[in-house]
């Protein structure tokens, strides 16, 4: 008799759990209008907002006086696993103290080699570089992928090295 009861309770249990599963997907389809996560990309290009943690490319923010925070310490170049970052630096005399000081000449960023691992970001002691949100990197020529991140005529922001 017990086995008969078990047989029917198994069926009831099976039906119950199947119904539970169907309710989950039923919720999805009945709330599809607001739950759908797919985005229509080229159409929504103007309003598209990438999420904060998205890694599009490495960028170097400049303030309104055309100043950046990069001291040319090359920590990012060392941290980079595949040689994406290449810093060309020189020693120029500091206009205030007159001593010779290391500074960046060109911050070269080879986008074609970058895997967006973002190991350079925590390596930077002065937070000079961050990950940008732009992901439309298609270009017609390979040379366009080699980017220079520091803007022409830019200089080091004051107070970064203290």
């Amino acid at each position: 008799m017990n086995s008969v009861i078990k047989y029917f309770s198994d069926i009831a249990h099976g039906v119950k759990t199947l119904w539970k599963g169907m309710m989950v997907t039923g919720y999805y389809i009945s709330h599809a209008r607001k739950e759908i996560i797919t985005q229509q990309y080229p159409e929504n290009r103007d309003t598209l907002q990438m999420f904060n943690r998205f890694r599009g490319e490495v960028i170097m923010p400049h303030n309104e006086d055309n100043e950046h925070r990069c001291t040319g310490c090359q920590a990012c170049e060392i941290a980079c696993p595949n040689g994406t970052i290449e810093i060309i630096w020189d020693r120029k005399p500091d206009p205030e103290t007159g001593k010779k000081k290391k500074s960046i000449h060109t911050f070269v960023y080879h986008l074609q080699m970058c895997t967006m691992c973002a190991l350079c970001i925590p390596a930077c002691p002065t937070d000079a570089i961050i990950m940008g949100q732009d992901f439309e990197h298609a270009v017609t020529d390979r040379s366009k992928l080699t980017k220079i991140l520091n803007k022409p005529g830019s200089k080091l922001m004051k107070g970064v090295e203290e």
Binding site: I11, L18, G21, M22, V24, T25, G26, Y28, I29, A32, E35, I36, I37, T38, Q40
Partner: protein, 360 residues
Amino acid sequence: MYDFTDLVRSIHESLVASLSPGMAALVEWIIIGAIFLGFFALLGLVLVYVERKVCAFFQLRLGPMRVGFWGTAQTLADTLKLLLKEPIMNKRADKFLFNFAPFIIIISSLIVLSVTPFAPGLQAFDINIGLFFVIAISSIGVVGILLAGWASNNKYSLIGAMRSGAQIVSYELSVGLALMTMVVLTGSLQLSEIIASQADGWWIFKGHIPAFIAFVLFIVASTAEVNRGPFDLAEAESELTAGFHTEYSGMKFAFFFLAEFVNMFIVAVIAATVFLGGWMPFHIGGLDGFNQIMDFIPPILWFFGKVAFIIFLMMWFKWTFPRLRIDQLLTLEWKYLLPLNLMNIVLMAFVVYMGWYFGN
């Protein structure tokens, strides 16, 4: 829109008046055949689109959106692509059987479609053993699947075909018994009579508990019989590439694809006809005002509405449940569905004997 009997008769009479009897019959056959082939193709197009959209919404995606408004022309473009593709054949394949198999499947679905009662007077072939005919002919489809698997000369195809054979042969039993339970109630196998007997209420309501159990058993077993949903072992993309139609390409592949969807439609038609009253509007005995409002909706809309409901139910199964293993599949049939069906048929016979159903 309500009753097609007069329209069909007037077409018949005008043909008989202008042609000899033999020619008139021939023209009628050709017209009916063309209509069914057209309907068949249209059904495939619509159902593939609906399937992709419903699946997308279940998975919180948008599905096809690019071709036409909301992707409505997507299946049309896919069909065009399949028509233009080269039919490639395995060198070691059995040429005759390889080319013949898709047609068996297509023909068996097409024949079953011929007894479909769409609306009053709109039924190509109303025979007195309708339900039996449907079960018998729809079983021929498995021969096509087995032949396709064998003739492809491919291990995946053969495994898929053998799985499919085991599955369809077992589940046919449950489909048949579930329908038999309802035949006990209806007392007729003729589809038009089964529908006529539901004028005062659908059998799923009039037959209460045993009818509802039979409905659930029928839906489960028929989902397995059309190789869909959680029972798609015969195709099993992740294990067998595509099962029995791995080696097929172009239009022959499209035939298998089309037959799967048309079979789903056929199963939905049977369920709608036997359990939900076919084209019969929803009636409650005694409430004349309510019944008249329901009569106002054309029967053909009732029919397609019910069929759409059952197709949606089957899609819901497919996109909710994980695929069964072959032993689980056979356990479900032989240890659960079949004993339940047998118990249910006895229960139904008792209910009918005692007259404990509504509308007797």
